[in-house]
Amino acid sequence: MRIIALLTLLSPVVQACPGLTAEDAWIREAPPGTSVMVGYAQLENTGKNPLNLDTVSSPDFGSVELHRTVIENGVSQMRRHPTVSLPPGGRAVLMPGGLHFMLFRPLRSLKAGDTARIVLYCGTQSRTFSFSVKAITP
């Protein structure tokens, strides 16, 4: 029994979505009463295998979707974006006016300075990232 426990301790930690990082992960503070917020981050695959991020969730929001804003013929459109594919070394920049996380129905009040968790899924695995709420000008 002891040996097993020791082996468990010594074995390398198996990380879900290996190599997935999220830099500058932030959520734009929203006016009071708003039931949809937006999150941005710079995602990178520092691992050796391709990652396909097709599902997003959060314990702090009713639901999360990946969206992309496109301005076509002067008309701003927001559409669901199915998957972010990150080959090894690949990056995806989620930023205002482009790819973003749509955060529906915040489950608690989120003000600048707070943090919220967003869970990114790569297949059956997932990894949780902390996003800072900021009142930021573009």
Binding site: A30, M37, M78, P96
Partner: protein, 206 residues
């Protein structure tokens, strides 16, 4: 043919130069502004009558667009990406113009009256700027204003009925003190470029 005396030639050349300079000055003073981030309408277009409501419940009609310069943007409060970015830019532009003693009335037109109640609109515009005016109303009246402004919008279903989105023109529309559409500004909206363009058009009044 008799050769012209050098003095006469010099006089003709000088008067030609003077005429050229005078014409250049005249031309430059009557010249319409050259916009770097927008399109100036050669003939401003009047905004047709409409009846909408401000965030505080007060009526807002075409008459409220007269007597001052207005910059209008159409969006909706459930738009978390493009609308906050644009409203923040509008706020900064308005502040920059005020610093150079120019007045600009920033107006947010909600094209989502089903979700944007006056209370919701009030909380939203107050968050971005105390001087921002939010207006909305029945679709029939919104359509009148949007037709005048050349703004398109359409409701697009989302994953849940309450998650629908609204595609909308991302332009900023400048209305002159005569209540006429004077210029359009195309995205991406930049504070510096917009402020420089509007400074050319709006005189100092404050």
């Amino acid at each position: 043919m008799r050769a012209l005396k050098p003095l006469s030639v010099a006089l003709v050349a000088l008067s030609g130069l003077a005429l050229g300079l005078w014409a250049a000055v005249q031309w430059s003073t009557t010249q319409t502004p050259i916009l770097h981030s927008g399109i100036l309408l050669p003939t401003p277009r009047p905004v047709a009558p409409f009846a909408l409501t401000r965030q505080d419940g007060v009526a807002f009609t075409e008459a409220d667009l007269r007597g001052h310069w207005s910059l209008l943007f159409a969006g909706f409060t459930y738009c978390p990406d493009v609308c906050p970015t644009t409203l923040t830019v509008m706020k900064q532009v308005e502040q920059g113009l005020r610093d150079s003693r120019r007045a600009l009335n920033a107006v947010f037109v909600s094209v989502d009256p089903e979700r944007d109640t006056p209370e919701q609109l009030s909380r939203y515009v107050r968050y971005y700027s105390p001087t921002l005016t939010g207006i909305t109303g029945p679709f029939e009246q919104l359509d009148r204003l949007c037709a005048s402004l050349g703004i398109a919008y359409i409701k697009v279903p989302g994953t849940l009925p309450q998650n629908y989105t609204v595609d909308h023109s991302a332009v900023l529309v400048l209305v002159n003190p005569q209540g006429q559409v004077a210029a359009y500004f195309q995205p991406p909206h930049r504070v510096e470029a917009l402020t420089a363009d509007l400074t050319q058009m709006i005189p100092e009044t404050l």
